[in-house]
């Protein structure tokens, strides 16, 4: 077999290993679903009235706000995949199995690729759960088949970007709790400071500038447009550009961290 087919085979082996881990230790997976569900309930039922009231002069949580909110929750679900990946990579590091892989004749990046691909599958499952729950709550998307496929395509791309950023964080962190904290910058901070929950127009200028220009907002606005038909503008170009850019940066960073001399 060529080295490329070995790389594919080793990555598939590592992916299977990660999926088995996820099934055997379902708390991480459940956690990455429960957190966005909690946010969905919090923002729609608890805060929704006030948020919409502030906009429209008093109203209970409406379908209009739910349609605005759900794409934001979906983005957050995907971003929380960072936690899943960083924890998985970090436990390989702290449990020492990485040392074994390093001295074996296996494709160098396969371990990391396995983690990244596992995150994509994990994200697709979590997002499906969130969409089902949202539909039960009254979410009414108007996407056709093409839009759903485009939605899934962008989600996969974004999940890969998240995973490749989380892999080096998991390698750098010395403990699982360190990995968790680092990954929450991606999983929590960036979704909150985006247009996920409220419109950027309501924010102070300096924050609005950040929110409108950070990578997650363009991805979010594109997902929102595909699901509910809001105007997309140039956002889809930025969404793809940012995602591909982050994948490349994350991949190079991850390989660099993995290949450098193990710290003592």
């Amino acid at each position: 077999m060529s080295s490329f087919s070995y790389a594919l085979r080793d990555s598939a082996t590592m992916l299977r290993r990660n999926l088995r881990h996820a099934m055997r230790n379902p708390f991480v997976t459940v956690g990455t679903i429960m957190t966005p569900v909690f946010m969905l309930v919090l923002f729609f039922y608890v805060l929704g009235g006030s948020i919409v009231g502030g906009l429209n002069g008093g109203a209970k949580g409406s379908t209009e706000y739910l349609n605005y909110l759900v794409p934001g929750i979906i983005l957050m679900t995907a971003a929380l995949g960072a936690e899943f990946t960083a924890l998985g990579v970090n436990s390989d590091r702290t449990e020492n199995i990485i040392s074994r892989f390093r001295t074996m004749a296996i494709s160098r990046g396969s371990l990391l690729t396995g983690h990244a691909l596992a995150n994509v599958i994990q994200t697709l499952i979590s997002v499906t759960c969130i969409i089902v729950i949202s539909l039960l709550m009254g979410f009414r998307p108007n996407a056709g088949l093409v839009e759903w496929l485009e939605f899934a395509g962008l989600l996969v791309l974004f999940a890969l970007a998240i995973a490749w950023l989380a892999v080096p964080l998991g390698l750098i962190a010395k403990t699982p709790s360190g990995a968790n904290s680092l990954s929450l910058i991606i999983g929590m901070l960036l979704p909150f400071f985006s247009s996920a929950f409220v419109k950027p127009e309501t924010m102070p200028d300096w924050l609005r500038w950040f929110v409108e220009n950070q990578p997650f907002t363009s991805v979010l606005e594109t997902l929102r447009s595909l699901l509910t038909g809001t105007p997309v503008g140039n956002n889809w170009i930025y969404a793809i550009g940012w995602s591909v850019g982050l994948i490349i940066v994350g991949y190079i960073w991850a390989r660099w961290v993995y290949n450098r001399e193990p710290s003592h």
């Binding site: 085979r9 299977r16 088995r20 020492n96 390093r102 001295t103 074996m104 004749a105 296996i106």
Partner: protein, 316 residues
């Protein structure tokens, strides 16, 4: 360098971590089909040596050939030829024992059928059949170590590195591990192990290298090395100076410690020599207050080779 008979050949290995010099020019030659034991205290550079030879770390300078392949130019070929079991177990805690072995089979690119056969064979051989379906967290220390080693053997390596294979094991598991290592050797592989224990090197090794502060201070067969070590001795303590005098006179070849009222008698530590010694004292009716038998250990080797006991060295 010979490549057809030499499994491991290293010249001038050096390694520093920051300003701390860990290996200060090591030369090694390990013949195929033999056991080489690297003996030394904590912090002498044993683990670093194994990590460099097994491609885990790179050396600052030096040349290494493993199974005829240059370590720097053909690391993949080296990795294909070796199996490594580190000091800390490297098993996947979320996979069962059997799944761990099957993972190794997949990563060694064995066919599914071949992988299953190999896993079953290793589970049987290492007495892990009963716990094959359990997670390693439920294993004892000895079982974990056996699984760890079994995982390193899935790819049928020709050269096996074992970093302190018995440290932390109870005496029975330790004996089991020795048996396993002898079996491996009988199968024709080359074994490079590190140990802190002279008796372990004595039991297993064809050749021993003594490592001290990053330098090989002695190398040779067990017999050669033992000639460098002062023999064992028996220490006798007496109640008063008169008895000490008489005993010293009777036994002749002894060293005296007048202040402690003690004599040190050279001995191989065997029961027979001990009985002979006591008989001689009995025949002169000299009563002995205290007796201790001292068998040569790593401390003696270090004392003999470096002039200082090993526990005075500072480990990392």
């Amino acid at each position: 360098m010979k490549t057809n008979q030499t499994a491991i050949a290293a010249r001038g290995l050096r390694k520093s971590f920051g300003s701390h010099l860990v290996l200060n020019g090591i030369d090694l030659d390990v013949t195929e089909g033999t056991v080489y034991a690297l003996l030394g205290p904590n912090g002498s550079g044993k683990t670093t040596t194994v990590q460099i030879l097994s491609t885990f770390l790179s050396s600052d300078s030096g040349e290494v050939r493993i199974a005829g392949h240059d370590l720097l130019k053909e690391p993949e070929a080296v990795r294909s030829a070796i199996g490594v079991t580190g000091q800390f177990s490297a098993v996947d805690n979320l996979l069962t024992g059997e799944e761990n072995l099957l993972l190794m089979a997949d990563l060694n690119h064995l066919s599914r059928q071949e992988g299953r056969r190999r896993a079953a064979e290793l589970l049987e051989r290492f007495d892990l059949g009963d716990v094959a379906g359990k997670l390693p967290i439920t294993y004892s220390g000895g079982m974990r170590r056996r699984l760890d080693l079994a995982m390193s053997l899935v790819g049928s390596p020709r050269i096996i590195f074992l970093d302190e294979p018995t440290t932390g094991l109870d005496p029975r598991s330790r004996k089991t591990m020795w048996e396993i290592i002898r079996d491996l050797l009988a199968g024709g592989v080359t074994i490079f192990l590190t140990t802190q224990y002279l008796d372990e090197a004595d039991e297993l090794a064809d050749k021993i290298g003594v490592l001290d502060q990053g330098k090989l201070v002695a190398e040779g067969t067990v017999a050669e090395l033992k000639r460098l070590i002062p023999g064992g001795h028996i220490r006798l303590e007496f109640a008063d100076f008169a008895r000490l005098e008489t005993a010293a006179h009777t036994l002749g070849d002894v060293s005296r410690d007048d202040e402690a009222l003690a004599l040190t008698v050279p001995s191989d530590g065997s029961v027979r020599s001990l009985r002979a010694l006591l008989d001689r004292l009995d025949s002169e009716a000299i009563s002995v207050e205290g007796l201790s038998v001292h068998i040569p250990d790593l401390d003696d080797v270090f004392f003999a080779l470096t002039g200082q006991p090993k526990n005075q060295k500072v480990g990392k």
